[in-house]
């Protein structure tokens, strides 16, 4: 293998002047965590890029892993040589030959090290003519080259790269605080969580579990979704809320058309309490405007009123197809579509109000005493952290 480095270019974070240090530190942490199983690698930061010294490792799985990390704008395989014209010529020739499909090329030199004696324009010609004299069948095309060789001359050495591989973009997870995601098991909420992570937000998740109305399998689905989402960020805590008693009470005491609205309000109320306890400053849902009865403008208004916390809805303007597309990209689709009831679909009346009136909601809710129930619930929450630290896999021996 010719290439000995991987270059990682930062995305938007180079814009964020003041916080840049923090972002880069976070990205470095995230890259390191992701590559923990490759102890041979040497990962180094600089102001505008990160370099990974491969030490003989196969670059392919490493590139694949880094592509999913938020904050990585693009990646390239690179050869590092000394700032020496002969060495650069040699490496550039090797890099060109590596790109076997290419017929036309272009050289772009960036001379950050101004001590290097040849100007970048002139150096393009030096390298270009070296390549032309030492190969057959290649021609220069400065407008639409098949391959563009970048020669980056820096104080610490010269990097030669050709193809640019797109990264996930966005901001490194953990650089923008935490949100509590209401994770139902459906298609939308994991996508919402994923998109929030793209803004640098760390996730915790809350799930409302109503056994025996919802099954163990439905809960497992939520846990698997959370586990899957850790792939794009760091660890995720999932709070499993025992919701059965309160749900039965709502069902009993609230008029049919309003029970769904009140149930949603109770979910937010409990989520807010969890957020407060965990020092989380916002809640996130997978709601998209107009999808179902609880997601009309009137419903959102009536439900949202119960909390002062910012309620983030990254999917609010997206259509279902776009959401499904993302869920397929991030491999949550197959988990979400496992055929179990999720917590939203049991207890839903046949005709919930699509335009609930807030004063009525508050009136009915006022007739019901829930404080005791909520205290009990808060005491019985089960919290699981993913990825599971020491997976007590009872099945391991069987495989």
């Amino acid at each position: 293998m010719l290439y000995d480095h991987i270059l990682i270019r930062y995305g938007e974070l180079s814009l964020k002047n003041k916080n840049r240090k923090k972002f880069i530190y976070q990205l470095h942490e995230n890259v390191r965590t992701k590559l923990i199983n490759y102890p041979e690698l040497k990962i180094k930061n600089s102001r505008d890029r990160m370099t990974i010294l491969l030490n003989g490792q196969d670059p392919e799985p490493i590139i694949e892993a880094c592509q999913t990390i938020y904050g990585v704008q693009s990646l390239s395989l690179a050869i590092k040589v000394d700032n020496d014209t002969e060495q650069i010529k040699h490496a550039a020739l090797q890099a060109l030959k590596e790109a076997t499909d290419a017929r036309t090329f272009k050289i772009t030199t960036k001379r950050a090290d101004k001590d290097f004696p040849i100007g970048s324009q002139e150096f393009n010609h030096v390298i270009g003519s070296h390549l032309l004299t030492n190969t057959e069948d290649y021609t220069v095309d400065v407008h639409h080259p098949d391959v563009e060789l970048h020669i980056d001359i820096r104080k610490q050495g010269t990097y030669i790269t050709s193809t640019r591989i797109k990264g996930a973009g966005g901001l490194p997870v953990g650089s923008a605080g935490k949100t509590l995601l209401l994770l139902s098991g459906g298609l939308d909420s994991p996508v919402a969580g994923y998109l929030m992570m793209g803004r640098g937000v760390k996730l915790e998740a809350v799930h409302f579990h109503s056994p025996p109305y919802t099954s163990e399998a439905a809960k497992q689905k939520v846990l698997d979704l959370a586990d899957r989402l850790t792939f794009f960020g760091n660890e995720i805590k999932v709070h499993i809320v025992p919701f059965t008693a309160l749900q039965q009470k709502i069902h009993r005491e609230i008029p049919y058309g309003y029970s769904m609205t009140v149930m949603r309000r109770m979910m937010l109320k409990i989520s807010e309490k969890i957020a407060a306890k965990e020092n989380i400053l916002s809640l996130t849902t997978g709601e998209s405007l107009g999808q179902v009865a609880s997601q009309t403008m009137e419903s959102m208004h009536a439900i949202n009123e119960v909390t002062n916390y910012p309620l983030l809805r990254p999917l609010v303007s997206m259509d279902k197809e776009a959401i499904i597309r993302i869920s397929q990209q991030i491999d949550t689709y197959d988990i979400s579509t496992r055929p179990y009831e999720d917590c939203c679909t049991v207890f839903v009346p046949n005709a919930p109000k699509t335009k609930p009136k807030l004063d009525k909601v508050k009136y009915f809710e006022g007739l019901m005493d829930v404080e005791g129930d909520i205290t009990d619930i808060m005491n019985d929450i089960e919290t699981i952290t993913f990825p599971l630290k020491q997976e007590k896999d009872t099945f391991a021996d069987l495989f």
Binding site: A217, F395, D397
Partner: protein, 379 residues
């Protein structure tokens, strides 16, 4: 006992058997049941899918668990033919396929499909150019085995895959039953749409197998019912069998990595020793799959040799029962172009990672003696 018939079947690995037993006893729930006990079975099944996918470097929804090679081959061939007959009715395969491919193709001929059976060269391999020439607008399926079961010849699957990849309406099926765990066959980006693997050829259990079906491939299902396995194959999943299979896959893959040269060394020794016996003609060309070595002893009935060796607790085999019109001639050896005499007297040694050099030496000594004895009788 010396067991040299590993291409017919292999000895189940004890730990594979243990997994099967444990799951059959403890987790016998139906994965489709909604209760917790069913969920455990479903979790096992899901993990089995994931592990198989990881080993084959594909995604878990592309794995269908089957009852073995014959089912995998039939599901692939008939499944593609029946689902895509509106696009065309032409199928390409080779003259040296396993009967489960050849007979599936013959059955389709009775339904009006047109099948091309490609010849092979003197090494028992099909020529990519022949495949290219045989392709027509109506070709919906090409089915070619990876390693031939009788001869051990390796087919140019990667090149054929690249050829078919460019054709949006032609599917490519590979019978990988003899190759898995011994010769790596990358599936990702290979042009392969379907790939058959069998459990009992890799120290797994009989009645287990996998058909890889590339995402987006539609098949006419052979089994209709409860829509298990993404509708490709209805029927309550064999969780114990499926888990035991992926364990066998893991174990043989580890051996493939750790004892890479072992089979080559055995094969080399076997060749050298057999070449010293003047009556023997080796049929398998060098640089084919090392686990299979086919040879003929013209003038000797292969069954007699097999029985004589059997008395010495040595088990090898003759040609597999096949569709040759001449009942005692190997269709594969015939297709390679050997004389009738030679095709009639083919014998096969097939090795596993467990076999040793000592066994090879003892086998060759015994074979020499058997030939001497028989020649006296016959002379």
């Amino acid at each position: 006992m010396i067991y040299f018939d590993n291409s017919a079947t292999t000895k189940p690995d004890p730990s594979v058997l243990e997994s099967f037993l444990q799951i059959s006893q403890k987790y016998y729930g139906n994965p489709s049941s909604v209760h917790r006990f069913g969920l455990e079975a479903e979790t096992l099944l899901r993990k089995a899918h994931e592990q198989a996918a990881e080993i084959l470097r594909v995604t878990s929804s592309e794995i269908i668990f089957t009852s073995g090679g014959t089912e995998g081959n039939n599901t692939a061939i008939k499944g593609i033919a029946l689902a895509h007959q509106n696009r065309g009715n032409h199928i390409i395969t080779t003259q040296i396929e396993h009967p489960s491919v050849l007979e599936a193709c013959h059955s389709l001929e009775t339904l009006g499909f047109d099948v091309t059976y490609l010849p092979v060269n003197e090494h028992g391999t099909v020529d990519v150019k022949d495949v290219k020439q045989a392709l027509t607008d109506k070709t919906i399926l090409v089915s070619i085995m990876h390693i031939n079961n009788e001869l051990g010849s390796i087919q140019p699957i990667e090149a054929i895959g690249q050829l078919i990849k460019k054709r949006p309406t032609t599917y490519f099926h590979v019978d990988h039953v003899q190759g898995f765990g011994k010769q790596t066959l990358p599936l990702h980006d290979s042009g392969i749409d379907l790939c058959t693997i069998s459990g009992h050829k890799i120290h797994g259990l009989k009645g287990t197998g996998i058909l890889y079906v590339k995402k987006g491939t539609t098949l006419f299902s052979l089994f209709h019912g409860g829509n298990q396995q993404g509708n490709y194959r209805s029927g309550t999943e064999n969780v114990a069998g499926d888990v035991s299979l992926v364990k066998a896959m893991r174990l043989i893959k580890e051996q493939e990595i750790n004892s890479k040269n072992h089979l080559d060394e055995l094969n080399q020794l076997l060749r050298e020793l057999l070449q010293e016996i003047p009556e023997i003609m080796i049929n398998t060309s060098p640089s084919q799959a090392p686990q299979i070595l086919n040879f003929s002893i013209p003038g000797y009935k292969p069954e007699v040799i097999i029985h004589a060796l059997g008395e010495r607790e040595i088990f090898i085999s003759t040609k597999s029962a096949c569709s040759s019109k001449k009942p005692d001639e190997s269709a594969v050896l015939h297709a390679v172009g050997f004389s009738q005499e030679r095709s009639k007297s083919g014998l096969r040694v097939s090795l596993s990672y467990q076999n040793t050099k000592e066994e090879i030496e003892l086998f060759c000594r015994s074979l020499r003696k058997v030939i001497q004895q028989l020649s006296k009788v016959m002379g």
